[in-house]
């Protein structure tokens, strides 16, 4: 009984601490900015206002940043889901030349930190004319090794009988992939998609390097530039809250896939 009470107290204290920053964000975003800058409890609004939201929505840049984020997120998420599913299937079930060697070369590359590739990629993209374009952030992210690994692991545990039955019924490779394999792989493909969404939507480092024009910024970089220059807590928090909405929705619907994906892959 005592143990139970302690557990619940710990649960509520920790829960409160984890939610507090989000509460500050939401409440702070409804706060008028003019007074009480020096009050530490400033984030609790006594006179809620939509002013901050109206301000950021009127500021053309903010909407543009959100759109940029959508573009550089949605395209890679879609292609990652498709390509990782196809490649995962190929590496799990198909017999072809050097299959294992190719796969393990792919896997070895995961050990290279992305910070090492950023300088040569910056030079390459300068040559391609990709600096300040979406290409630099979309093309390299079209598929991902970790996603292929996840799908492969998942499909290896599925017996070959289903495929064989479909072959006997006269289905070809493409039909088998779309009608037999893909429906089975929905949970793992959703995992790949959610991971890809979160990492692209939240990425700060790559946009920081490849983009210098403000109108090309994704929302992360846009918000970062607001942090530096607005000096206005309410507006910052309103911006944060709006940019948090897509993440939060994805999180709400796909939380299960996320946590399973982490357990399965050992990914961060």
């Amino acid at each position: 009984m005592v143990k139970k009470i302690i557990t619940y107290i710990a649960l509520f204290i920790l829960g409160f601490c984890f939610l507090l920053p989000f509460a500050i964000m939401i409440l702070g975003s409804f706060k008028d900015v003019q007074f009480a800058q020096l009050d530490p409890l400033f984030w609790i609004p006594d006179d809620p206002t939509m002013k901050n939201y109206i301000y950021i929505m009127r500021d053309g840049m903010f909407v543009r940043w959100i759109l940029n984020s959508v573009i550089i997120t949605v395209i890679p998420v879609a292609t990652q889901m498709l390509f990782c599913a196809v490649l995962g299937y190929i590496f799990a079930k198909k017999q072809f030349i050097a299959r294992e060697t190719i796969f393990w070369i792919f896997m070895a590359v995961i050990m290279i930190p992305q910070q090492l590739l950023i300088i040569p990629k910056y030079i390459m993209f300068s040559d391609f004319g990709w600096i300040n374009t979406y290409w630099a952030l979309i093309v390299p992210e079209l598929w991902g090794i970790m996603g292929v690994f996840l799908v492969r692991q998942f499909l290896q545990s599925i017996p070959n009988d289903l495929e064989e039955a479909a072959y006997i019924d006269g289905a070809n490779d493409i039909q088998i992939f779309f009608k037999v394999i893909l429906p089975l792989a929905v949970p793992v493909v959703a995992t790949v998609g959610t991971f890809s969404f979160i990492s692209n939507w939240n990425d700060l480092f790559q946009p920081l390097i490849y983009l210098t024009q403000e109108k090309m910024f994704p929302i992360t970089l846009g918000l970062a530039s607001m942090l530096g220059k607005e000096g206005n807590f309410g507006i910052e928090m309103a911006g944060s809250a709006v940019s948090f909405i897509p993440t939060f929705l994805i999180f709400l619907f796909f939380q299960r896939y996320f946590t399973e994906g982490i357990q399965m892959s050992g990914m961060k």
Binding site: A10, M111, Q115, N202, L227, S243
Partner: protein, 305 residues
């Protein structure tokens, strides 16, 4: 079967293979080309860069080991490495401990466990920019900061936090702990669920206290998870950048200049791309060593996760 195949001329064999697996190769060849362009080539290019003087404009010039030699005498680089190690000290054990505590609570059969699991995991999916924005406000170095306000209740003078060179790194580590503990919780939660219930029952029948059960059963049986989490957290801590960029800009007086922050500053503020490549190899070497340690001690077990 294989011996019969190998007697055919190579051209014929490839032709048959193509016929059998055409669709596989149609998919695979572009993917391999993409892989070479965006992974393999940059990796090799960055090594080549370390031996060149590469300004953004003009032709590269071969300078041999110049940049590597400079690394040995560059006090700031060593400071950055030291800062990163210190960051790990602040970060690794608390992240593991908090993750374990969260997992234990979630796993103890409390009500609304799923809901709280979601709350603890929420920071993981939130961008660093949002968390840093709030964090910077919480840890304002004046009496107006919420943390300083709370500290005043227990009689502690207002702290400077982000503008104090001996506190800034710890505050950044606090931000990372908050942001990452949810991931650690998931690993520990999976580990806890795989422990045989029978062991607990047997211990309870023997009259062992909850604390004894934890130290003698739960904690040791989580050993592979401890090891795995320690490795991934360490690798993560060496790559830390976002919070330093957003909150301190590497300061005050280089106190939060981590390896990646220094790399960024050298490469993209000072446009010293060659030297930044050397630094990226320093980072790579450290991560490689950590990964090899993991391989050695975890071996095949690592396939579990």
């Amino acid at each position: 079967m294989t011996s019969k195949k190998s007697k055919l001329p190579l051209g014929e064999r490839l032709k048959r293979e193509w016929k059998r697996n055409a669709i596989v190769y149609i998919v695979l060849i572009p993917v391999i080309i993409h892989f070479i362009i965006f992974q393999v080539y940059p990796f090799l290019l960055s090594f080549y860069l370390t031996f060149m003087d590469w300004k953004v404009i003009g032709d590269p010039e071969f300078v041999g080991l110049k940049h590597w030699k400079y690394l040995l005498t560059d006090k700031l680089a060593w400071k950055a490495i030291w800062n990163t190690v210190m960051f790990s000290v602040y970060y690794i054990v608390p992240t593991m401990a908090l993750g374990l505590v969260l997992a234990l609570i979630i796993n103890s059969g409390v009500k609304f466990a799923g809901f709280f699991k979601g709350i603890f995991f929420l920071p993981v999916v939130t961008s660093f920019v949002i968390v840093a924005g709030i964090w910077g406000w919480l840890f304002r170095g004046t009496e107006a900061g919420l943390i300083n306000y709370l500290l005043s209740f227990i009689g502690i003078e207002p702290q400077l936090f982000l503008s104090n060179s001996s506190q800034a790194l710890a505050v950044l580590a606090g931000l990372s702990i908050f942001k990452v503990a949810g991931t650690t919780m998931i690993y520990y939660f999976a580990g806890l669920q795989s422990i045989d219930r029978g062991l607990y029952e047997a211990a309870r029948i023997d009259g062992a206290s909850p604390l004894k059960i934890f130290w003698n059963i739960t904690f040791p049986l989580l050993k592979p998870i401890h090891f795995y989490v320690a490795i991934t957290t360490t690798i993560g801590s060496f790559q830390i950048f976002d919070s330093a960029y957003l909150l301190t800009g590497g300061g005050p007086s280089y106190a939060t200049t981590t390896i990646v922050y220094y790399l960024y500053e050298q490469g993209f503020t000072s446009l010293n791309l060659s030297y930044a490549s050397v630094l990226s190899y320093v980072l790579f070497s450290i991560i490689l060593v950590i990964s090899l340690v993991q391989r050695k001690y975890l071996g095949k077990d690592s396939n579990h996760y």
